[in-house]
């Protein structure tokens, strides 16, 4: 009994070490999403390339798709364009949600649509265009409702408009398999 008591601090120490050690490899950006298993929030946003065409959440329903939050100002987003384009060629449906980054949020925003359209066109022509179309969220309303904290972030939305996954960071060949599986499951339904 006495010997057993003697080992309790040692056991506690090992337990604590293991807990802290596992923390070294966890990603602090992955802290669960409040959006998963909920309907895509309602919105009415213009198509980036055809600003007169307004799109709503209901119009995106019908088949599963990835909603990819990105911007030309974001280097990681540019890095994933090529891989996403490959996915599109394999038949994956990807819709872009353009994240307008203010020059300095504290000093108000300057917004120049033709310049942005040109910038986006150039970028997509050079890196590949994975998008069916892009939603323009100038005031970041949908982006706010989706709990997006930066770019890139990607949502997997099913045919009924329910969010099934929220991925923070870029999509690349290493982290794609589980997303692919979830997508294929929704497609087969």
């Amino acid at each position: 009994m006495r010997k057993l008591l003697f080992f309790i601090p040692f056991a506690l120490f090992i337990g604590l070490s293991m807990f802290l050690f596992s923390g070294l490899f966890s990603d602090p950006r992955q802290h669960g999403s409040a959006l998963v298993e909920r309907q895509l929030p309602q919105f009415q946003l213009p198509d980036l390339m055809q600003p007169n065409k307004l799109l709503t959440a209901d119009e995106l329903k019908g088949e599963p798709y990835f909603l990819n939050v990105w911007g030309t100002w974001c280097p990681t987003c540019n890095a994933e364009l090529a891989f996403l384009t490959q996915l599109r060629q394999q038949g994956v449906r990807i819709v872009g949600l353009y994240y307008v980054q203010p020059l300095d949020a504290a000093f108000g925003e300057r917004f120049d649509l033709p310049a942005l359209q040109q910038d986006v066109q150039q970028k997509l022509a050079g890196q590949g265009d994975p998008y069916q179309f892009n939603l323009l969220d100038q005031h970041r309303t949908l982006i706010f409702d989706l709990g997006v904290s930066g770019a890139p972030e990607t949502f997997l939305v099913d045919a009924d408009g329910v969010i099934r996954a929220h991925h923070v960071g870029d999509i690349n060949p290493q982290n794609w398999p589980p997303l692919a599986e979830a997508y294929q499951k929704l497609v087969r339904k």
Binding site: G32, A106, R140, F144, V148, S149
Partner: protein
């Protein structure tokens, strides 16, 4: 001259104080609520800053939204719920009480309880040791007194006395 320098130093730091956004409030209570909220809500991007402290785009947007909601007359829990619905429990520095977080409260309580039990038991043990020591001492003294009285009449019979004293050495 020194005083002037000191005063200059003091005023030189004023612009730093003024860097915080100046938002108009008609009700000082709402202003206080806004202040409280922006200090309690956590920036999802720069994770160890509150939204008052951070200038990440998402923090600026959250401040704007907080301002808007407070102006609409929403109370503290309503604003926090609004943010949690979008950015998760993570966004509030006060974690909610649920099965996965219960350890945050249980563990310190268990630790204090465990240490309390340990200290009490240790104390008892020590007390017991002291008691035993004292009582064995008393026993010995008592025995010596008994011997002194009991052995005397037979002091001539040495073998009996020796036998008796050897038996007394054994602990009771």
């Amino acid at each position: 001259m020194r005083i002037v320098m000191l005063l200059l130093c003091f005023f030189a730091t004023l612009p730093a104080l003024a860097a915080e956004e100046i938002l108009p409030f008609s009700d000082p209570k709402q202003q206080a609520l806004f202040r409280e909220l922006t200090h309690e809500l956590r920036c999802p991007k720069c994770q160890n800053q509150n939204i008052a402290d951070s200038n990440a785009v998402v923090a600026v947007d959250m401040r704007k939204k907080t301002y808007e909601l407070v102006q609409q007359g929403q109370n503290k829990t309503q604003v926090i719920e609004y943010m949690k619905l979008r950015y998760g429990d993570f966004v509030h520095y006060q974690p909610p009480l649920q099965l996965s977080t219960i350890w945050l409260w249980l563990l310190p309580a268990l630790l204090v309880l465990g240490m309390g039990v340990f200290v009490v038991r240790k104390n008892n043990q020590q007390q017991q040791l002291v008691n035993e020591e004292v009582s064995s001492k008393l026993d010995a003294e008592l025995q010596a007194m008994i011997d002194a009285v009991a052995v005397k009449p037979n002091s001539t019979d040495k073998s009996v006395a020796a036998e008796k004293s050897s038996a007394e050495d054994k602990p009771a």
